[in-house]
């Protein structure tokens, strides 16, 4: 019944090695993954990325379809990348040309690789939120930022805000849909008309959503206060963070992936013979 509710930022309950990982380790691994994805500039690199992403999804015991559903609303980013690449990259055989817009074979190749790469990165990021509860995420971020709090950086507050934002994401999405339908019932159209008309139509959509966000924020802050929340001081951390076997295995795997990507990357630059 609630399967459609799988969206980015949602937690998917399961008992898997990935779920059991230390959130700090997970955050670091995810960060490494994101950064090293940049190294995948050809099909081999993308394939390596894909294999490791699949391994991670497999290890998380989450059906591939669920992960896909969770990034589905973000697919427009992919479409955007495709269009951007197809039109702006001018390499190899040129098929079509108009002003600054050029469609070339190189453009297509770039588009495909770029899209796959961004898609895989979304999968990876989604896996992080699917396997990590907001509280674990809070604890993880807070702990990683802890050194900074010594110089006055609000690491606990930032972590708490991130966690609450993730918690309320689905609530806002629901409300957004409801408001959109309510305005549509009053004859509003959101997918027709000029850019100006469409931009104007954002007001009846966003204004109630902001009002609702303020309402939620107000009530939530009271609910937190009434439950004795007073910042990080003296607050118990129920989930003692401890790196374990799972985390070291994850570090090992991600290291292998990074090394592979670097090797492939070096080979490309070596073969083709021009600097990266």
């Amino acid at each position: 019944m609630k399967l459609g509710a799988t969206i980015f930022g949602r937690y998917y309950a399961a008992d898997s090695p990935v779920h059991r990982m230390d959130p700090r380790a997970k955050l670091i691994v995810a960060l490494i993954y994101m950064v090293s994805a940049v190294l995948a500039v050809d099909m081999v690199g993308v394939a390596i990325l894909a294999v490791f992403t699949l391994i991670a999804i497999r290890a998380s015991h989450i059906p591939l379809r669920e992960v896909y559903n969770s990034i589905k609303p973000l697919l427009f980013i992919l479409i955007f990348t495709i269009i951007l690449n197809v039109f702006t990259v001018n390499e190899g055989t040129v098929y079509w040309h108009w002003g600054t817009f050029t469609i070339s074979s190189g453009g297509f190749r770039h588009a495909v690789i770029f899209t796959l790469r961004v898609g895989l990165m979304l999968f990876g990021a989604s896996l992080l939120t699917l396997t990590t509860t907001t509280l674990e995420l809070t604890d993880g971020i807070e702990s990683l930022l802890a050194p900074l709090s010594r110089i006055g950086f609000p690491s606990h507050e930032i972590a708490m805000m991130t966690s609450i934002a993730l918690r309320f994401l689905p609530t806002f999405l629901d409300e957004g849909i409801k408001i959109k339908r309510a305005q549509e019932s009053r004859g509003a159209t959101f997918d027709e008309g000029s850019i100006i008309q469409r931009t104007k139509m954002l007001v009846p959509l966003l204004s109630p959503l902001f009002a609702s966000a303020f309402r939620h924020a107000d009530e939530l802050s009271m609910a937190m206060e009434s439950r004795c929340y007073h910042g990080s001081e003296g607050r118990t951390k129920t989930h003692a963070l401890k790196m374990g076997r799972n985390d070291y295995i994850a570090f090992a795997i991600i290291s292998v992936m990074v090394i592979l990507l670097i090797i492939v990357r070096l080979q490309i630059t070596g073969d083709v013979g021009h600097p990266a």
Binding site: K2, A5, R10, Y11, A13, T133, T134, L135, S163, I164, L166, R167, P170, T171, H216, E219, L220, M222, A223, M224, E225, S226, R227, C228, Y229, H230, G234, R235, T236, K237, T238, A240
Partner: protein
């Protein structure tokens, strides 16, 4: 009416104030006297119109009190004053012997007098049920083992065993409210204030919450239920009707709800038996006023 303290004028009350002595121990386990005392409390949101005016009210230990009134009557403000979310402009609110305006007591007051709000969504602070129930005790800095025990126990008390690893977002409104109550129980409170807990629920969810509140009351927790549903108020030990920031009526449900004319004046719902009695009298059939449907049936079968 039953509660003489509440009906005493503020002048008399003020002189007698010293008669009640409180002993508060730092471990927080015991206190003497009544759990909640409003002494001539006035509160205003905007310094122009008073949301509450000169309220004096005492909730007795172990009591189940329903605070009834329309929207804007000031009833929700009462709840927030108990929890020290609001501080009175004048007068004092004393909770378990601690004055809410004393900054050092606020933390202890909130631990011992939990507040459940109307909107179930806005009380789910984390995405996992177990994390949410642990939120309060974590803020209290309790040891991890104690938190785990209390969280499990609290979820059991509200009938939500087995929901530990569920996402708060995917629960029904009624289930969310139960989790919210469990989150407060985990702080081991002596008193719970429920601020229109059923207003956004369907009838089934609402019934469930009211049932839980009565179970807690039987277990010794003082309950203050703020509501505009008369069927909920009928089950209380005592009903306090608030109107335009003042206490309009105070007594047992039977005392309050048989007053057909007065309730009409205050634009409040009436119990079914009272409404039927009024309708019968309009039709020339005399029956005495009662809130009890069985009694009414007996009277009709005479």
């Amino acid at each position: 009416m039953s509660n003489t303290k509440a009906r005493m004028s503020c002048e008399t009350k003020a002189t007698e104030g010293s008669a009640v002595a409180f002993v508060h121990e730092d471990n927080g386990a015991s206190y003497e006297g009544d759990p909640v005392i409003f002494n001539c409390v006035t509160y205003s949101y905007d310094n122009k119109t008073n949301a509450l005016e000169d309220i004096s009210l005492t909730v007795e230990r172990g009591q189940y009190v329903a605070i009834v009134g329309g929207n804007g009557s000031g009833k929700s403000t009462l709840g927030k004053l108990v929890n020290a979310l609001y501080l009175p402009d004048s007068g004092t609110v004393t909770v378990m012997g601690l004055t809410t305006s004393n900054e050092d007591s606020v933390f202890e007051i909130r631990r011992r007098a939990g507040l459940v709000f109307q909107n179930p969504d806005d009380q789910m602070i984390t995405s996992l049920v177990i994390d949410d129930v642990s939120f309060g005790p974590e803020n209290l800095g309790l040891p991890v083992e104690t938190i785990k025990e209390r969280a499990a126990q609290s979820l059991h008390e509200v009938g939500m065993d087995g929901f530990e690893r569920r996402e708060t977002y995917n629960l029904s409104g009624g289930q969310k409210q139960r989790v919210a109550i469990a989150g407060i129980l985990a702080m081991n409170p002596d008193l719970i204030v429920l601020d229109e807990p059923g207003a956004m629920l369907d009838p089934r969810g609402r019934r469930g919450i009211i049932r839980v509140s009565h179970e807690l009351n039987k277990a010794g927790v003082t309950v203050v239920l703020i509501t505009h549903f008369m069927d909920e108020a009928l089950l209380a030990d005592r009903v306090v009707v608030v109107d335009h920031g003042k206490i309009a009526m105070d007594g047992t449900p039977a005392e309050v709800f048989v007053q057909h004319e007065r309730l009409k004046e205050l634009q409040l719902d009436e119990p079914f038996a009272v409404r039927l009695t009024a309708a019968l009298r309009e039709r020339g059939v005399y029956v005495p006023y009662t809130i009890n449907e069985n009694k009414l049936m007996e009277a009709l079968c005479l």
